[in-house]
Symmetry: C2
Subunit: 332 residues, 2 copies
């Protein structure tokens, strides 16, 4: 079986470019006992993957140069020597960016496409949805009437986090990078207000105006100047759900900014950095709620789907210019 | 009755100086029902008071220009029209920097000088001791064998925090500003190791060497560059007990430093800013433990006592150059 795959051609310095990716052909061996042959259906591109391109120890292991990029993939079982999977099953796995791949059955999870479209398992019923769920429910813990401010609000995690906060009775304000995104989150995703950070003159004041009672929970997906402005609006005993720092992922030097600790001290702020795998023993609980709310229409969902295996690098790079609304997915 | 008092002559810009204080004479009225006449015995000088000299809303109200500085004071009751207090009682109160003062009984707490010397109620059995107790026990929560790193380790809070962490079975490393302080905390206060930040060439590496298993809890009293170096040594799932930022209190502009959030994110760090009054409904519990440990010899204590009401400004200013070992107290 011939497969096409994308390897890390070189480690990016700063913003990645097409030169960091290389397409290759690969001939797959025959599957053996316990293995399945997979055909990729949807491949996920996620901001955290930028960190894996660096040669730095972090929570996710580094990609190796000349080895395939890998991440969340929904694939169809083409052939199986695993008792757990049959032909035509759809599975979720951490798989290479490849049109076809071979994986042991134990590393795959079957998905139920009668509950939701397959691609949803890379988004609202997958890692981003769980990230939003545990970030809001376990760290932020909004009480009725509290104000929740979300950066990257129109992204895969932000869109879900804001809606979950609304379901808890919070007043939810999103920060996004265009009027189109701001309108989207207000009109279709039930956010109470939205701030376009690209047109705000003084973001600190725009946040203060949109959050007249101050900010009780700041769900941070972006970091940098947006977060510096958010921190100036935090209430006493507020919480920061530290989920992402996409605005800093491409910095080549350690970014410098105002010291935030004096403010966090005087306001008795709690901050919790987290990665979704911290909650892996409770994924079932999270997925149960997400599927229930989705089925009841209490959570809405959108994704930006780019078609074609060859467009994977473009889709990934687009995360850093914010071309996506909701989860970015590549349909193979 | 004639009293001498110290008022805020002007708001300091940056490091305070003697010019910000003015001594005045004041004639006290006769006490009326429920009031007591007090003679100051020990007056506390504390880093947080620097913030009260600014005209900025914070957790503690601002001092007013031409009005007395005020803070923790141990005083002897000279005359009483309160049913709760008798002559010769010793009391703790938030009182003006004055040789004599009048206060309502309801604002005073009687202290038991048979349990510990009166001055201890401004330190290990007072606000700094409670700060250390709740910071370690409620926020840091050290487990046996974890590494606790404490900045400002030879200060009023740090000395107690380190010893409480030791009682919980932690490996405790202190950061202080002189070899004398480092020797003190190791030899007399049971710290496992100490780092002199003034002689360390690369503080990040000194911390790494002193904390071979990384840092599980960072108890921060100082902020700034010391904290930047500490954060680079934090373990996964570590905690920051955000207690003080004395190195930044005299900054006239917002201090700038490396962005810390990316590191707190990838290490899943929890940070909690706090002020001791957040735990006011549990002060009795904290004081019970502190008194018990002190009585059993499990907590040791030291204070730097400066004599003379006229030396109050000098003692306060000395906090920022670190002349004190343990709690700084002025004996009147």
């Amino acid at each position: 079986m011939n497969s096409r795959q994308i390897v890390l051609a070189s480690r990016p310095k700063g913003l990645p470019g097409y030169e960091n990716f290389r397409f290759e052909n690969k001939v797959l061996a025959d599957i053996i006992e316990d293995e399945v042959l997979l055909k990729a259906s949807f491949i996920s591109v996620d901001p955290y993957m930028r960190g894996r391109m660096n040669d730095v120890k972090s929570y996710a292991s580094s990609f190796q140069v000349d080895q395939p990029i890998a991440g969340g993939v929904i694939a169809e079982v083409i052939d199986s020597k695993s008792k757990s999977f049959a032909k035509s099953d759809f599975v979720l796995g951490n798989l290479p960016w490849a049109t076809y791949s071979i994986e042991k059955g134990e590393n795959l999870r079957k998905i139920d496409t009668s509950v939701a479209p397959a691609s949803y398992y890379l988004g609202i019923l997958g890692m981003p949805g769980l990230t939003a769920y545990f970030g809001i429910m376990d760290i932020g813990k909004p009480k009725t009437g509290e104000t929740v401010l979300i950066s990257g609000a129109a992204g895969a995690v932000g869109l879900v986090a804001g809606q979950i906060a609304k379901l808890q009775g919070a007043y939810v304000v999103g920060i996004a990078g265009s009027d189109e995104k701001c309108n989207l989150i207000k009109e279709q995703f039930s956010f109470d207000d939205a701030i376009n950070y690209n047109t705000s003159r003084i973001l600190k004041k725009s946040i203060a105006a949109a959050c007249p009672n101050g900010v009780d929970i700041y769900f941070d997906n972006v970091g940098g100047k947006i977060t510096d402005a958010a921190i100036l609006n935090l209430n006493f005993h507020s919480r920061i759900v530290l989920c992402g720092q996409i605005s800093l992922y491409n910095n080549t030097e350690i970014p410098v900014g105002p010291a935030i600790l004096p403010r966090l001290l005087t306001r008795s702020v709690m901050l919790q950095g987290f990665i979704v795998s911290n909650y892996s023993n409770r994924f079932n609980q999270g997925l149960e709620y997400l599927a229930k709310w989705l089925g009841e229409g209490k959570l809405k969902y959108t994704e930006t789907i780019i078609s074609g295996f060859d467009n994977l690098p473009e889709a990934f790079l687009g995360l850093f210019s914010g071309i996506n609304k909701g989860k970015m997915i590549v349909k193979i």
